[in-house]
């Protein structure tokens, strides 16, 4: 069975969890043998932008020592053989250019999404 994980709500719990919840789940299930792909849409397209730095969070004397590194987490998924798709229009609407993205992600147009969905047995929209 092949499943597509659609992530639309971006930066959900990333500061507390130190990673994105659904990307983490995908990593974990991939490790258990699942056949998965990820589609980033909406604000979550920003996950593939290089040069993000979430370090420096501190409340009083309580510092966060391990900031999330979401683009690295996406790159790690790619390295594990999980395809990562990004909705091109959502990327462009935010003033981003494909050269801003980490290597290996695949851009898809909105009109191509039905065809993409057809390639999977399950589509889970988080």
């Amino acid at each position: 069975m092949k499943a597509l994980q659609i992530v639309e709500t971006a930066y959900r719990a990333t500061l507390e969890e130190q990673d994105d919840t659904v990307l983490w789940l995908t990593h974990s299930m991939k490790g258990a043998g699942a056949d998965l792909a990820v589609l980033l849409r909406g604000n979550a397209v920003n996950y593939v932008v290089r040069g993000q730095d979430a370090s420096g969070l501190r409340f009083g004397q309580e510092a966060q020592t391990r900031p999330p590194r979401i683009p690295d987490d996406v790159a790690s998924l790619l390295a594990k053989g999980v395809p990562v798709f990004v909705v091109r229009e959502d990327f462009e609407e935010r003033g981003l250019d494909e050269k801003d993205a980490i290597e290996g992600v695949q851009f898809v147009a909105r009109r191509e999404l039905p065809e993409l969905f057809e390639r999977f047995d399950r589509v889970w929209h988080w």
Partner: protein, 137 residues
């Protein structure tokens, strides 16, 4: 000496959900640093922010053990804000909606968090220079 001004924050989001709570805590810290007394009315899921039974865990995806992961805990962030307020001689008064606590069973809150209700929020607002509501979506 002029009386210190107070600001009131109403929070609604649970921890581990999105960045609104983190943003609220950053604003609260900024207010404390500026010398404001701060009131917080935590409503609905936000009553779990200072819940002491949040626990650290290792992260097998990152390949880090418990210590290496050094997982942040929102209740420790609130405790750090309480400490920062004490250190600066201002007041951080955090009220958890009691009925919301009951519904969720999150009774164990850090020291300094007290139980209250909507009337408390109204009193806070009346005695504050301003109120910022950070709702959930």
């Amino acid at each position: 000496m002029a009386e210190r001004k107070a600001l009131t924050f109403a929070l609604m989001d649970p921890p581990y959900e999105n960045e609104r709570t983190t943003t609220a805590l950053r604003l609260i810290e900024a207010a404390i640093r500026k010398g404001y007394d701060v009131n917080v009315f935590a409503y609905e899921g936000a009553v779990a922010v200072p819940f002491t039974k949040q626990a650290r865990h290792p992260n097998p995806v990152h390949g880090r053990d418990l210590e290496q992961e050094d997982h942040p805990l929102p209740h420790r962030w609130v405790a750090a804000l309480m400490e920062e307020a004490r250190r600066r001689g201002v007041k951080l008064d955090w009220v958890n909606c009691g009925l919301c606590v009951d519904e969720r069973g999150v009774f164990e809150a850090i020291e300094g968090v007290r139980r209250g209700g909507p009337a408390e929020f109204w009193k806070f607002a009346e005695s504050s220079a301003n109120t910022l509501v950070i709702p959930t979506k």
